[in-house]
């Protein structure tokens, strides 16, 4: 990619300081996202995928702090901006939608009112112009009978419809980047499909960049261009979506793909689970966080976390694993 990235995150490190100690949620994560691109961040619980994006938007709860790193959005480091500047940015240039729309929407205001408020807060337009814009948005997200639904309250919508309202709210100020944190996890599979297609359609129409955070490999495969795989607060592998599924390089990614049933490739074989459990981020392992569960772990993995190795220059496929070091012994089956 020769154009400079829309968002450039380097060495992002966030911890939560609890009564039981420091929980290292994000440990030195780098990634880029370019305009118009859909980046998927996939990881399990405790991987730090949500906290990474919350850190970028400075939405951490009281005892969380980003202690290191930079996050340059269109050249400005978001971690250095004042709270006022961040407020202008949120909802305006960067929008976020969450897993549970019911908790993100105010149950005492009509949906129309909430979005109109958001628009007026960021743009200098009249109320009636804002209202027209909301109707436009509802039509964009395919809410039937858009105009009449402005006066409805959140509880009058079903789960899928509420998520569409959230998307409409997020798009209301033409953001350049949309961060979607598990937007379809709580939805039924048929509604999930509709929402994902909607996101894809909107994205290509508006040229918006999307960061899609999820734990579902199927969802990632359906809609993203590039993928970042996270584990134990660390970025393990980054690749173009086709490359990742075709030739996963990191043992964790390989393990993950082997443990998920593919509905089309049924061959009666057992799934190959990854033994063990995700690490406790209160006491993360010293070297590579995945080491305790990796069947290819080497001595060096116990003490030192690996740097990122480039796999294939043109495709910008990177994997954080000692196996890719030129001196490492070639192990059978690591090119899955």
């Amino acid at each position: 990619m020769t154009q400079s990235p829309l968002l450039k995150v380097r060495d992002l490190t966030t911890s939560f300081f609890t009564s039981r100690g420091e929980v290292q949620a994000v440990r030195g994560v780098d990634f880029d996202i370019h305009a118009g691109e859909v980046l998927g961040i996939v990881g399990e619980s405790g991987s730090g995928k949500s906290i990474t994006c919350m850190s970028v938007l400075r939405l951490l709860k009281n005892n969380g702090r980003t202690i290191k790193g930079t996050a340059h959005f269109e050249g400005r480091d978001l971690l250095e901006l004042s709270e006022l500047e961040m407020r202008r940015l949120r909802g305006n240039d960067v929008a976020m939608i969450f897993q549970d729309p019911m908790t993100s929407l105010n149950p005492t205001l009509t949906v129309g009112e909430q979005i109109i408020e958001t628009i007026i807060a960021h743009k200098n337009i009249s109320r009636s112009a804002a209202r027209e814009r909301v109707v436009e948005l509802f039509e964009l997200v395919k809410i039937p009978e858009a105009a009449s639904r402005l006066g409805a309250y959140p509880h009058e919508f079903s789960g899928g419809m509420r998520q569409r309202v959230m998307i409409a709210m997020a798009l209301s100020c033409d953001p350049k980047l949309l961060i979607a944190d598990e937007p379809t996890t709580a939805l039924d599979v048929t509604i999930q499909r509709q929402i994902l297609l909607l996101l894809k359609e909107i994205q290509s129409r508006l040229g918006m960049a999307i960061i899609l955070i999820t734990h579902d490999l199927g969802v990632i495969a359906e809609v993203t261009d590039r993928i970042l795989v996270m584990y134990g607060g660390t970025a393990m592998e980054t690749a173009n979506v086709h490359h990742l599924f075709d030739k996963p390089m990191h043992p964790y990614t390989q393990g993950l793909l082997a443990s998920v049933p593919n509905v089309n490739n049924i061959d009666g074989e057992k799934l190959k689970p990854i033994p063990g459990s995700p690490p406790d981020m209160l006491r993360p392992p010293k070297g590579c966080p995945f080491m305790p569960r990796c069947d290819k772990a080497m001595e060096i993995c116990v003490t030192t976390g690996a740097p990122e190795f480039e796999i294939d220059d043109a495709q910008s496929h990177k994997s954080r694993c000692w196996l890719h070091h030129p001196d490492a012994p070639q192990q059978k089956g690591d090119a899955a």
Partner: protein
């Protein structure tokens, strides 16, 4: 790509000895639920101070009257209404030891003390000049006048000069002073603590048993049983509690047992509601369903699952009911319907002290402070317990 050029020791490429079973290892020590609660409560300063205060108070209430040299009913009318803090004056007499005394600004009398603040006796005035509003005292050759024509009263010598105070000392004979009948306020306070706390604890305990049983049955069985039981509770709750207790006291006659019965018969509604609420929430939990699929009896489910998990809110409610009980008992005694004279409860002490409020404010200060501080302490403790037990605050 920083250490690509760094030479790595070939031994580092050997396979690591990985035991996936180790991945199942739990590093943290095993804390029971209560140990966890205790540690969180410990970190809550106000709650800890309150707990310490309550423990001290209970200890003082039990042991105080035993080790004090005064009893709660001994009267000494000559030494009535003496404050706890004495401003002493010294009078030198040639050839004799100095005499110390203090002025009781309430009744304009002088009392002799030791240098240290121990009361000796009341001093007899030589003469009382009521027209000029002076009392005249003679100490050997010296004459001292207590002039109360203008307030505050002053002590002056023969030349109309005010005498300087010698110093301020704590009353060593009666640490909290005496009341209008010359009884030691401190020991009466402690005795009152015994009464007030006993009433509060027992009444709360009665609530506990009635409330748990009632609320438990209503919540667990639900449906019509619950409906009927809760309607009864609502009726009882609408009756103004204080009014009801007053009526009860009139019927049962004043007395220690009566007030416990009176408070006990109406107080349980709060506890019943809390327990019922807990039951309603908890009985839908999956682990209750799991127990049912194993064929558990109702008794088993109640005692092994529902009650232990409700203990938290029950305990908090208990702790917060105690100050209410204290207050009600005090109020009843204050208006004359509680324990009877000469038994002292904080309420009766307050009631007696109100009469002398203008002149001897300290007499009201102590029981009022006792009631307030104790209520504060239980409230802070209850709040602290509630926070410590809240699973959401975990993490």
């Amino acid at each position: 790509m920083n250490n690509l050029n760094q030479k790595i020791d070939p031994q580092q490429w050997a396979p690591a000895k990985v035991d996936a079973g180790e991945a199942e290892f739990i590093a943290a020590p095993s804390l029971t639920f209560w140990q966890d609660v205790r540690s969180r409560l410990w970190q809550n300063r106000p709650a800890m101070f309150s707990l310490a205060f309550i423990i001290l108070l209970v200890a003082a209430a039990i042991f105080g009257p035993m080790i004090s040299r005064h009893t709660y009913f001994d009267q000494d009318l000559k030494l009535s209404n003496i404050p706890p803090i004495l401003q002493l004056y010294e009078v030198q007499n040639e050839g004799q030891a100095a005499t110390y005394f203090f002025l009781n600004s309430g009744n304009f009398k002088l009392y002799e003390t030791t240098e240290d603040g121990e009361l000796k006796s009341i001093l007899r005035a030589k003469r009382k000049d009521l027209i000029n509003k002076r009392h005249i005292y003679e100490f050997g050759e010296r004459r001292i006048f207590v002039d109360y024509s203008t307030l505050p009263a002053r002590i002056v010598d023969a030349d109309e000069n005010a005498i300087d105070a010698y110093g301020t000392k704590w009353n060593k004979t009666y640490w909290f002073g005496t009341d209008s009948l010359g009884r030691d306020v401190l020991v009466r306070q402690l005795y009152g603590a015994r009464i007030s706390l006993t009433v509060a604890f027992i009444a709360t305990l009665v609530n506990f048993f009635i409330g748990i049983f009632y609320g438990g049955v209503a919540g667990y069985f639900g449906g019509n049983v619950d409906n009927i039981m809760m309607r009864i509770v609502e009726v009882i709750a609408t009756i103004p509690l204080t009014l009801y207790v007053i009526l009860m006291m009139v019927v049962l006659q004043s007395g220690f047992i009566s007030i416990i019965v009176a408070i006990g018969t109406v107080f349980w509604v709060d506890m019943a509601r809390i327990v019922r609420g807990q039951m309603l929430t908890l009985k839908n939990q999956d682990y209750v369903d799991a127990a049912k699929t194993m064929g558990a009896s109702t008794w088993h489910i109640l005692t092994r699952h529902l009650l232990p998990n409700s203990i938290g809110p029950i305990l908090v409610t208990l702790t917060l009911l105690i100050p209410s009980a204290i207050f009600i008992e005090s109020f009843m005694s204050f208006i004359g319907l509680g324990v009877s004279v000469p038994m002292a409860s904080w309420g009766t002490l307050t009631s007696e002290a109100v009469e002398t409020l203008r002149s001897y404010p300290y007499q009201l200060f102590f029981p009022a402070a006792a009631i307030s501080l104790t209520m504060f302490a239980f409230n802070f403790l209850g709040d602290g317990l509630r926070d410590a037990l809240d699973p959401r605050l975990r993490k």
